[in-house]
């Protein structure tokens, strides 16, 4: 199996890289061990929300400048002068893909399932977001939840919005078709609820309930439990009720995240890419500081050959990094990894403080090439969460690193 580029890892960074390369006429294959971390994403991408000292970032590029001064090994530092262009490429790509994102030069704010208000860079326009914390766009909202749905918290959201002078009327509801789902003690999840609510006849019943409960609220807030099968579900509600509908994420599984993954995957395939799900890369043949071919579990003795390789395998969750009792390793190529050899230094005793282990990752040179014993591999590029020297949770930089490094590497490969 011969390709221009083989991408290991089919999550956000792998797919963005693959899509961009396919658009530039390169034939790509993506190999993915299972589905990706996008499945619990909130639907908002963070580029830089906080500096290392915890202060909130408003203007993003200024924030990045300060960040790079404080952390010259940060993946953004390796993007160098190209960073502003990459941000433009990203927003352009969203447009080309017909994904409506709200984004700007400064962070805006998303509302979380616990009613917190968090800075973010680019959010799907269906999400309930606000431009400025001091000025919420609504004074009165209607918030609905399915009775007994445990992964969404109207009380917390109500309090969170109340703290910003927004009046929230909360409503519970139920439908006999949804009651059928309750027979199963474990599967009342957003995805199964959506399977039911997305059906036209049941959606209409839901809309009737919404109509019957709301009065003069300006906007309807719903948990993200609609729209998995029916892309027009929200539009339909808006049209029939005449009020905007905004969505707040739920605990996993996240329908927003799933749709994003599915959408990017379909785009990649429709552009001619080959997506191989449920496979593990076991071995790689290296020659002259280059990767020649890789072998996977499913394909056995039939290797995947490519001129370029991209490692987009993610962090510990996705098994891009594996932590043993003594070390952190990158399991596909055994690349150089930055980690502390004293395990007690991996953790902070307060789980909410900065956790050092989250910043461990694969070392690269400025070109984002992987290293073995400090020697770069000429045709192996590293993108996304597997990279070293950044803490996506504390900084709010996960989406940004994944997308921008993926685009940067796609550029590099296309030029080659």
């Amino acid at each position: 199996m011969k390709f221009d580029t083989a991408i290991i890892g089919g999550g956000l960074s792998g797919l963005i890289c693959g899509i961009q390369l396919q658009k530039k006429g390169k034939k790509c294959a993506i190999v993915s061990t299972g589905q990706s971390a996008l499945h619990f994403s909130s639907g908002a991408f963070d580029l830089l929300s906080y500096l290392p000292d915890g202060s909130e970032v408003e203007n993003i590029q200024e924030g990045v400048k300060k960040l790079i001064e404080q952390n010259p090994n940060h993946p953004y530092a390796k993007l160098g002068e190209a960073l502003p262009n990459l941000i433009n490429s990203a927003t352009q790509l969203f447009e080309e893909l017909n994904i409506s994102f709200v984004h700007g030069e400064s962070n805006h704010y998303k509302i979380t399932p616990l009613g917190e208000i968090k800075p973010t860079w680019a959010s799907l326009d269906r999400l309930a977001t606000i431009q400025e914390k001091q000025q919420f766009p609504w004074k009165k909202v209607a918030l609905f939840n399915l009775d007994g749905y445990l992964d969404f918290y109207p009380k917390f959201i109500k309090q969170g919005l109340k703290d910003h002078q927004v009046e929230v009327n909360t409503f519970g509801f139920s439908l006999p078709e949804l009651d059928r789902l309750r027979r199963n003690p474990t599967e009342l999840r957003a995805t199964n609820i959506s399977n039911v609510l997305d059906k036209e006849s049941i959606l209409n019943k839901f809309i009737a309930i919404l109509k019957s409960k709301i009065s003069n609220e300006e906007v309807i807030l719903l948990p993200a439990f609609l729209g998995l099968k029916n892309d027009n579900a929200f539009k339909t509600i808006e049209e029939q009720i005449g009020k905007p509908v905004k969505v707040i994420p739920t605990l996993p599984p996240s329908i927003i995240g799933i749709k994003l993954q599915q959408y990017l995957q379909e785009e990649f395939i429709s552009l001619g890419g080959v997506y191989m799900l449920g496979d593990n890369v076991l071995e790689a043949d290296l020659e002259n500081n280059s990767v020649q071919r890789i072998y996977t579990y499913n394909h056995g003795d039939i290797p995947i050959q490519a001129k370029h390789f991209v490692l987009a395998t993610g962090s510990y969750f996705s098994q891009g990094l594996i932590a043993t009792q003594k070390e952190v390793i990158e399991p596909v190529f055994n690349l150089d990894v930055t980690f502390d050899s004293d395990r007690t230094k991996w953790y902070n005793k307060d789980v909410f403080e900065t956790q050092p282990y989250l910043a461990f990752g694969v070392k690269t040179n400025k070109e984002l090439q992987g290293l073995i014993n400090n020697q770069p591999l000429n045709n192996l590029y590293i993108v996304g969460a597997v990279l070293e020297s950044f803490n996506p949770i504390k900084e709010g930089s996960g989406g940004g690193v994944s997308i921008l490094t993926a685009l940067a590497v796609a550029d590099k490969i296309a030029k080659n």
């Binding site: 474990t186 579990y297 394909h299």
Partner: protein
């Protein structure tokens, strides 16, 4: 130096689950049947409870179709489907009903029915027969039975055996029950395709049904017996006669390679890599420029449906690439959906509704696609698609055979 990821089910594979819930999203059964606890609960969660006390086993695990889509989507390499099936084998106290025994014993039923195929096929086609089977055996009356062939594939092959030996290169063909009792034409197509590139086809010394239906219906001892016979024959072919084994059924292939060691405890490690789908076997040789298929133009529009076991094997790429070799073929790949039949599962009255609900989106997409054929490597997918849509479903090897000059 590379890190090996252990793919066997160790006793602790379920411990690799970190409760991310991704498997529950992709389980086709959980999406339509609220009586099924879902793969996370039935698999790794349930396993911990069952280890505490075996009476924590939930009979509702019988609703699992063993499609392995949970495993394909799991980011933690947990063999969820295997855990559930192993639990059923170990803990289920349900005795197989007569219906299950009949549905699962394809060799027996097949041999009987091929002798009187014309009569059997007519009778099985009658509504009154289906109604009677529904009432007495709980085989759902909506189900269409596959037609039986008047004479088995093995009987036909006997007449070719001599000629086949004359080829320089040889493979053994695990034909499976479907080819043998229902559709020998597919077997003939395989022989034609392989012969066209100079490869002769042999049968195994002794071939029994791969046992996939026996496993899912709880007839484990019989499955193991038959499995051991098959592996012995495969060993003779691969090791003694240096002949690799190819198959046309994705389910048979998957069962022999993976379910034998994981669920039946049959060690096949010395021969596993030499048992594969015919499409993969051909792909390898073509990509190494060792053979070339001489294909004429075939201006047809086909939709490829990836069977669940194919998705698990990860081999749909080979079938698709082979089909793309046919000049001017228009090929679309259908969205990745289980068709719902899950072998004998969909024949059972208590599962029929679930089966059809699972396949609903697939059927809709097929009807809207207006293709000449649906193409799929799995025979039960074929039955399901042909029963539930207006499309005809062919095996990729048959399409290739028809396109040969």
């Amino acid at each position: 130096m590379k890190k090996k990821i252990d793919h066997n089910i160790s006793n602790n594979n379920f411990e690799q689950c970190i409760k991310c819930t991704i498997c529950t999203i992709y389980c086709p059964v959980a999406a339509v049947n609220p009586n099924y606890p879902g793969p996370k609960q039935a698999g790794p969660d349930g396993e911990r409870l069952r280890l505490k006390k075996s009476d924590f086993y939930d009979d509702a695990l019988k609703y699992c179709t063993n499609c392995k889509r949970c495993e394909v989507s799991c980011p933690s390499n947990v063999k969820i489907g295997d855990i559930i099936q192993s639990a059923r084998i170990k803990h289920s106290k349900q005795k197989p009903k007569l219906r299950d025994i009949l549905l699962a014993n394809t060799d027996f039923v097949g041999s009987m029915n091929t002798v009187l195929a014309p009569v059997v096929n007519t009778v099985l086609g009658w509504d009154v027969t289906k109604l009677a089977l529904d009432k007495t055996l709980q085989i759902d009356r909506h189900r269409t039975f596959p037609k039986y062939s008047f004479g088995t594939f093995e009987q036909w092959y006997k007449r070719q055996a001599q000629k086949q030996s004359e080829y320089k290169n040889q493979v053994s063909y695990f034909h499976g029950c479907y080819v043998n009792y229902n559709n020998p034409q597919l077997g003939k197509d395989l022989v034609k395709v392989f012969n066209s590139v100079g490869i002769g086809v042999q049968l195994l010394d002794k071939e029994k049904c791969c046992g996939v239906a026996l496993i899912s219906n709880g007839l484990i001892n019989q499955a193991r017996k038959q499995g051991n016979v098959n592996i012995a024959s495969i060993r003779k072919s691969v090791i003694e006669n240096k002949r690799p084994v190819v198959a046309t059924s994705s389910t048979c292939t998957f069962t022999i390679r993976d379910e034998y060691p994981h669920l039946l405890g049959i060690d096949n490690s010395d021969v596993k890599e030499d048992v594969e789908l015919a499409t993969r076997y051909l792909y390898r040789l073509i990509s190494q420029d060792k053979i070339k298929l001489n294909l004429a133009e075939k201006k047809i529009k086909v939709a490829y449906h990836i069977p669940c076991h194919m998705e698990k094997l990860g081999w749909s790429y080979y079938t698709i690439e082979l089909l793309k070799l046919i000049p001017n073929i228009e090929l679309i790949v259908l969205d990745d959906h289980c068709c719902g039949i899950a072998g004998t599962y969909g024949f059972k009255k208590e599962n029929y509704e679930t089966s059809q609900a699972i396949g609903e989106d697939l059927f809709k997409q097929i009807e809207e696609s207006k293709v000449d054929y649906v193409v799929s490597d799995c025979e039960t997918c074929k039955w399901q698609i042909e029963m539930s849509t207006t499309a005809k479903c062919e095996h990729p090897i048959s399409i290739l055979a028809q396109a040969l000059r």
